[in-house]
Amino acid sequence: MGVDILVESLNAWYGTTHTLQDINLRIPANHATALIGPSGCGKSTFVRCLNRMHETNPDARATGMVRMGEIDIYKDASPVEIRRRVGMVFQRPNPFPTMSIYDNVISGLKLNGFRNRRILDETVERSLKQAALWEEVKDDLKKKSGASLSGGQQQRLCIARAVAVDPEVLLMDEPASALDPVSTSKIEDLIFHLKAQYTIVIVTHNMQQAARVAENTGFFLSGKMVEFDSTHKIFTNPRDKRTEDYITGRFG
């Protein structure tokens, strides 16, 4: 089951650039939350702060509080522990090219020393079904490598890999931006189904996508969160003029 995420006065820097400025918000459990905004507004940095990937860059720094369920992720746990609880799907599909499809899906489990064959087999089937990839690959799970799939299939494989560890939160950084419309709609369907089980945070450039999959939407602009509300409200009756300008396409 997913958990709530509570963010309080989160600030992040790359070198001397203040990429995130005093972000406060509450992301409800078992819902999909979309983050929109023009390129470079800090929305990717924001999701990368939620699983502490931000700090893997040597120039990067973050302060503030992020509470996931009962845990303050910057205080109570190591980055490794956090990332075991939080799955992430990146903008460009990044399956492991030297592993079979099967090994790709269970890589997160194997990494942490999980060895039970029967459960591994079940996990592969469940995750690939959740990622709507099972029917396409079930006959060559161990024969084909992760790199031999098409771009859209690779991204669904990455989603399967992320959900295989049964995370509490699933972060998606523009998961469909490199994909064709058919793959995109498959991934949107997927998000729609997955949010029953996980807290999903999805960064997107595509406002229709945000409207289709997310209950709540946050609008970011130059490192600040301008507005956070239900998706319906954001797209029909935004409070802030800048949000309205962005969603009507007047800038960005």
């Binding site: 990937m53 990332r83 492991f96 030297t98 990494l111 490598s145």
Partner: protein, 349 residues
């Protein structure tokens, strides 16, 4: 429906600075631009392209020609010894120029053992250096360390040999040797008198010499692994070492084997430094302390004093043996790479 609606009726056309009619009329009235005239006058360029391809083919063929030429000369010049000893030459132990008894086995053995031992020492070290530089090193230290490793490769081998004679040999004799006897004596690899010169000393100096090649190539290969692979592993909750193992080493394993092979190639053929510390004794030693001999060092040591046609011919056959050893070792390595990577393409998207 009689006519399809024009796109303009569906989507308002963007405001053009100049209307389309004006654009086309401007085109037809004026002369083609200088750039267009120049490009149109350029012809098909087919000849240049074919010429380039032929030239590159010639370069590629020269490799085959050189290898073939060396092989033919080695066989021709060693035909006396080939006729006298036949294939027995490669398995025979004994090297007595005075009585005309020649066998290459001690040299083949010395070459293989010293090179493989050198790899055993150098590869873990080189991987460690490469991992440190690409994954762990603070950015300020990166350039100096890389520069120093490359500098090691530029030192002439005779200098390594001198250093080994004055520094490594005493250490081997007085400190490292007794230590190995005390703690690893049970392996029976470290027996007999230890004078400081011998197979192990040669292997250590070889390891130092091939370290820079392997580590700088490995470093380049690891740096070429896309960051998205590292992030993929980290996001699954990997520790730094697990990230390096799965995200970096696994993706660059073919390149690493290639780097190791280049190092091995250098170790097999290395002459000067080895000659100075291996002891130059044509026997098959059972202890790593015992002096040995390599194919390359026996040629370097004895070529100038080889009196008699059979002696000279035997030395050239030693060269042939070195040539064959190098080819066989490389072939085995290729086979290993092929066996490991079969079925799993190493492409990184």
């Amino acid at each position: 429906m009689t006519s399809e609606p024009t796109p303009q009726t569906l989507i308002p056309a963007p405001q053009l600075q100049i209307s389309p009619e004006k654009l086309t009329s401007a085109r037809s009235e004026s002369e083609p631009s200088a750039v267009r005239l120049f490009l149109n006058s350029r012809g098909s360029s087919g000849l240049a392209d074919q010429g380039f391809a032929a030239l590159m083919l010639l370069c590629a063929c020269s490799i085959f020609a050189i290898v073939g030429f060396i092989f033919v000369i080695l066989v021709l010049r060693s035909r006396l010894s080939l006729a006298q000893f036949g294939s027995h030459f490669f398995t025979h132990t004994g090297w007595d120029p005075v009585s005309g008894d020649f066998g290459a086995f001690p040299f083949i053995y010395g070459t293989l053992v010293s090179s493989l031992l050198a790899l055993l020492i150098a590869v873990p070290l080189a991987l460690g250096v490469a991992i440190f530089i690409t994954e762990l090193c603070p950015r300020r230290l990166k350039a100096p360390i890389s520069f120093l490793t490359e500098l090691l490769a530029a030192i002439p081998s005779v200098v390594y040999g001198l250093w080994a004679v004055f520094v490594l040999v005493p250490i081997m004799r007085d400190q490292l040797g007794p230590f190995l006897v005390k703690y690893l004596g049970w392996t029976h690899l470290f027996e007999g008198a230890n004078f400081g010169v011998g197979l192990l000393t040669a292997s250590i100096i070889l390891a130092i010499m091939i370290l820079p090649i392997i580590s700088s190539l490995t470093r380049d290969i690891m740096q070429a692994v896309p960051n998205s692979q590292r992030e993929a592993v980290l996001a699954l909750g990997a520790t730094r070492w697990e990230m390096i193992r799965i995200g970096v080493l696994r993706n660059s394993r073919i390149g690493i084997v290639g780097a190791v092979m280049l190092g091995l190639g250098r170790a097999l053929g290395e002459t000067m430094a080895v000659t100075m510390v291996i002891g130059n004794h044509p026997e098959v030693p059972h202890s790593l302390f015992a002096p040995g001999y390599t194919l390359a060092s026996v040629i370097a040591n004895e070529f100038s004093e080889a009196t008699g046609d059979l002696y000279l011919s035997a030395l050239i056959e030693i060269g042939l043996a070195l040539f064959l050893v190098t080819i066989v070792v490389n072939a085995i390595a290729r086979l290993m790479v092929w066996a490991v990577t079969r079925g799993a393409p190493a492409r990184i998207s």
